[in-house]
């Protein structure tokens, strides 16, 4: 086993995820969401006027749109007070828009990412790494061979300056407009950091690129934006990880992800989410998939107080396809509301959604998903499978799929099951010498295996480890 995996086996969660560093910021906005705050962010980034205009328009949408409160069974957002959130903290680092050497970072930031295992992973398994601390990307690097092929992997703020045409065309326009939902509007107003990925035609990036997002300060919001443009015939795997120490007040994470999958291109987007349990995690992720393109969303949601996340694929061209794999684990005090959305807007499009959720110690999971097949999208097929495992009688497991089928030449299937962890299975494993906890852990690992086997090994190990920690009740 590599040293990275040793690192991931680290059992001391205080050391792994929950350590806190003293806040040392260069710029810190006021709390709340005002025009002043938006202008301060834009000004601090020395943005062109068109981006400031987009932010201000998004702010207007935020102010006009109501909070989502009428979804059946949705997480309670009443405790989330956006006026108390600090939306922008620029850490005090020498080099703006990402150092390319870990050594150039202040000690506490370097130490943070080392504990999270990022430099190790970079050496062993990745084509490139971006690391965001608070509101700013502090580290950004990609192997030279990819740069030579024209691949771009840079911090989103820098892309605004260096690739204005691409950004202008794709940033919160056709994919995730700020009018899409209340939190997309919020994101559009105060976004900061995140990744810009551009893969030229027919280039296959054969090792994943990864971004890691760390919130360190109490009461802050993180709003990174990820824009991926995969030109025809290209292929890339993007991985994001995230974590934060736990505080008494609420943090907010509201990311925006836009993916443009060109003809016959293939994008895989994997997320292992481990926010602390005081974090509201309300994201909008969407891909537009052209003819023959393939989009894969893989999400493991372990952390957060409340998550609302429904990665969406718009299958725009013939024979486009989408695969969603989602794992949710809700322990005490957590409400993980997640699923997938797929719009079949062209003939011969395909989608699959696999969801596995686990609820324990009063946690609540909800699979919420929408499959829409438009008129004319003939010979399309979709298959949705949701399985839920419940540990105890304090927990809740909901399944709420929505299917809108406006075309007859289709194949639509949805299946869901809910059950408890089997006493007989536990008994059997105990009779083989495992204690109760180990037996249950093994059953859960088996339950999610169909999904973890789709992940790169490093992430499968990470996910399994997080689930073990969750089962021990040792994650904050």
């Amino acid at each position: 086993m590599s040293s990275e995996q040793d690192q991931l086996k680290q059992t001391n969660t205080e050391e792994r995820f929950e350590f806190k560093k003293e806040e040392r910021s260069a710029v810190r906005s006021d709390k709340g969401l005002t025009e002043e705050v938006v202008r301060l962010i834009s000004d601090d980034k020395d943005e062109p006027d068109w981006m400031l205009d987009r932010r201000l328009r998004a702010l207007e949408h935020w102010q006009e749109m109501p909070m989502p409160t009428d979804w059946p069974g949705q997480p309670d957002l009443t405790e989330l007070n956006v006026e108390e959130i600090v939306p922008y903290i620029r850490p005090d680092v020498d080099k703006r828009s990402g150092a390319d050497s870990w050594e150039d970072l202040p000690d506490e930031i370097q130490d943070t990412f080392e504990k999270l295992g990022i430099p190790d992973a970079e050496r062993e398994a990745l084509s490139g790494v971006g690391a965001q601390y608070e509101s700013e990307v502090v580290y950004q690097n990609m192997q030279e061979r990819w740069e030579e092929k024209g691949v771009v992997f840079m911090n989103m703020d820098k892309a605004v300056q260096e690739h204005p045409d691409l950004v202008k065309e794709h940033f919160m326009t056709s994919c995730v407009p700020p009018s899409d939902n209340k939190f997309a509007a919020l994101h559009g107003a105060v976004w900061s950091g995140g990744s810009f990925v551009y893969v030229p035609e027919d280039v296959t990036v054969n090792m994943p690129v990864q971004a890691y997002f760390r919130m360190n300060s109490e009461g802050m919001g993180q709003f990174e934006h990820t824009l991926i443009i995969a030109e025809p015939g290209s292929e890339v795997h993007y991985i994001e990880g995230c974590s934060a120490p736990k505080y008494g007040t609420h943090n907010l994470h509201s990311g925006g992800v836009e993916v443009f999958v060109g003809e016959d291109a293939h994008v895989q987007y994997s997320t292992v989410q481990n926010w602390s349990k005081n974090t509201f995690n309300l994201n909008t992720k969407r891909a537009i998939v052209e003819k023959g393109g393939r989009m894969e969303w893989i999400s493991g949601s372990m952390g957060s107080k409340a998550t609302m996340l429904y990665p969406c694929s718009i299958l725009k061209g013939r024979e486009a396809s989408a695969n969603n794999i989602t794992i949710a684990f809700a322990g005490e005090g957590q409400n993980i509301d997640t699923g997938a959305k797929v719009y079949h807007n062209a003939p011969n499009t395909k989608s699959t959604i696999e969801s596995k959720s686990i609820s324990k110690d009063g946690g609540r999971t909800n699979y919420r998903g929408l499959v829409h097949i438009s008129e004319g999208a003939e010979n399309s097929s979709t298959s949705v499978e949701c399985d839920a495992l419940m540990f105890d009688n304090e927990s809740t497991s909901d399944t709420m799929p929505y299917m809108e089928i406006d075309e007859s030449k289709v194949d639509v299937a949805h299946e869901a099951t809910v059950g408890k962890i089997g006493d007989e299975d536990v008994f059997y494993l105990q009779s083989r010498g495992l204690d109760d906890d180990d037996a249950k852990q093994m059953i859960v690992s088996g339950f999610i295996e169909p999904i973890t086997e789709e992940l790169p090994i490093e992430y499968a190990v990470e996910l399994n480890r997080l689930i073990e920690l969750e089962m021990e009740g040792s994650l904050g």
């Binding site: 009428d70 059946p72 069974g73 939902n181 929408l370 829409h372 008129e375 003939e378 839920a388 419940m390 540990f391 105890d392 009688n393 927990s395 809740t396 497991s397 909901d398 399944t399 709420m400 799929p401 929505y402 299917m403 809108e404 089928i405 406006d406 075309e407 007859s408 030449k409 289709v410 194949d411 639509v412 299937a413 949805h414 299946e415 869901a416 099951t417 809910v418 059950g419 408890k420 962890i421």
Partner: protein
């Protein structure tokens, strides 16, 4: 948003007149007047919403146009075997006021939503079925033929301990009326301990008629409430069939069938609440859509915190015969007790090409082959129907529609 105000002529006076004609006691008149007064504050029944879409638009209903309660007219048959009381509503008021007082509104809140309250205020016809202890009764049949612009119907079924009954209630339309019509039916079933109810309904209203139906049963210990809900007629139907499994060991099986054509819109729901231990539910719905018809299906299996040892299953299948039709479905599981075995499945698709090929290779014409496959599609639900007359009627109406 509250619903649109109904026609000004639906006043307290209207309600008093309806109640007076049925010679109702004061408490019932008060219940009606309260429901009328509540209309302003009540919401329409819930409809499913997804980003940018309402699956059914009830706000477009023009009540001013088609609600005309004082001119209600219908033909009605209410028949049952001797050992069961099958009473027209006026008779029930006269002879069984005690029973009515105890049970009316005990299963469905008379002001549950705007359309229920409207029905409470304005119903002018109905049936009360009472099955005494240990009586086994078959073949209670109720047929309502609507001859007026609007008709509000009420049905109450009460079964005492260890009794059983099968009921078939049919709705259709008689004399034609210019323009659109409205039919509203509320059905309450209070199933006593260890009793067994099968309530079948066949809705075959004409296609100018808007239809609201809410049917709900409360099942006591070891009781069974089984439903068959067939929807063929109406222009727009908003129908929900619901069971509260309140008693230990209680059960329900809900079988739904619909066949939409032209521009019919069916919004069909099947819902069950598992409220206590050892309960079982099975929800089975099959529907066919042709032309520009549209279906909306919601299935809810809600397992409460105290519902230990629950079994709950749901299946929904829709067959689309036309590219112009649309099928929307949302089968929901809400599970609060882990000692549960629950599943649901839903499919939407067209006629299987291999099946068609097989049939046509046996020298059947395309249309004959298609019709046989559609009839075959309904067989799994037809097989669940205990009342032979309903099974035959439903099969016959499906065949007719295919012609």
């Amino acid at each position: 948003m509250t619903a649109a105000q109904v026609h000004e002529t639906i006043s307290e006076e209207t309600v008093r007149q309806i109640s007076d004609e049925l010679d109702e006691p004061d408490w019932l008149l008060e219940t009606r007047l309260d429901a009328l007064a509540a209309l302003d504050d009540l919401e329409m029944p819930d409809v499913i919403r997804t980003p940018g879409r309402d699956w059914t638009n009830l706000h477009a209903l023009d009540f001013e146009e088609f609600v005309d309660p004082l001119n209600a007219a219908e033909d009605k048959d209410q028949i049952g075997p001797d050992e069961v009381e099958v009473l027209p509503f006026a008779e029930a008021v006269a002879e069984r006021e005690d029973l009515l007082r105890e049970q009316f509104g005990s299963v469905i809140d008379p002001e549950e939503n705007y359309l229920v309250a409207l029905s409470t205020a304005l119903f002018s016809t109905g049936t009360v079925v009472y099955v005494p202890e240990n009586v086994d009764a078959e073949d209670v049949t109720i047929r309502t033929t609507q001859n007026s612009r609007s008709l509000f119907n009420y049905t109450l079924v009460v079964t005492e301990q260890s009794s059983s009954v099968t009921i078939l209630e049919r709705q259709d339309t008689g004399e034609s009326v210019d323009g659109e019509r409205y039919y509203s039916g509320v059905v309450e079933i209070a199933a006593g301990e260890n009793s067994h109810v099968q309530y079948g309904s066949l809705q075959d209203l004409d296609e100018e008629t808007y239809n609201y139906a809410l049917k709900r049963g409360d099942a006591a210990d070891y009781a069974t409430v089984n439903w068959v809900d067939g929807n063929l007629g109406s222009r727009l139907t908003k129908s929900s069939v619901e069971t509260n499994l309140d008693g230990e060991g209680s059960e329900t099986k809900t079988v739904g069938a619909f066949f939409g054509h032209d521009d019919q819109h069916f919004d069909i729901a099947a819902r069950v609440w598992h409220n206590t231990a050892h309960t079982t539910a099975d929800l089975v719905t099959r529907g066919v859509l042709d032309d520009e018809a549209r279906s909306v299906y919601e299935g809810v299996q809600d397992v409460g915190r105290e519902a230990w040892d629950t079994n709950s299953y749901q299946r929904e299948n829709t067959l689309m015969l036309s590219d112009e039709s649309e099928a929307d479905a949302s089968p929901k599981l809400i599970i609060n007790n882990h000692d549960t075995e629950a599943s649901h499945s839903a499919t939407v698709g067209q006629i299987d090409e291999e099946d068609m090929f097989y049939m046509t290779s046996r020298a059947l014409g395309d249309e004959t082959a298609r019709n046989m496959l559609v009839e075959g599609f309904f067989v799994p639900v037809l097989e669940e129907i205990e009342v032979e007359e309903l099974r035959d009627d439903l099969a016959a109406r499906v065949r007719e529609r295919l012609q």
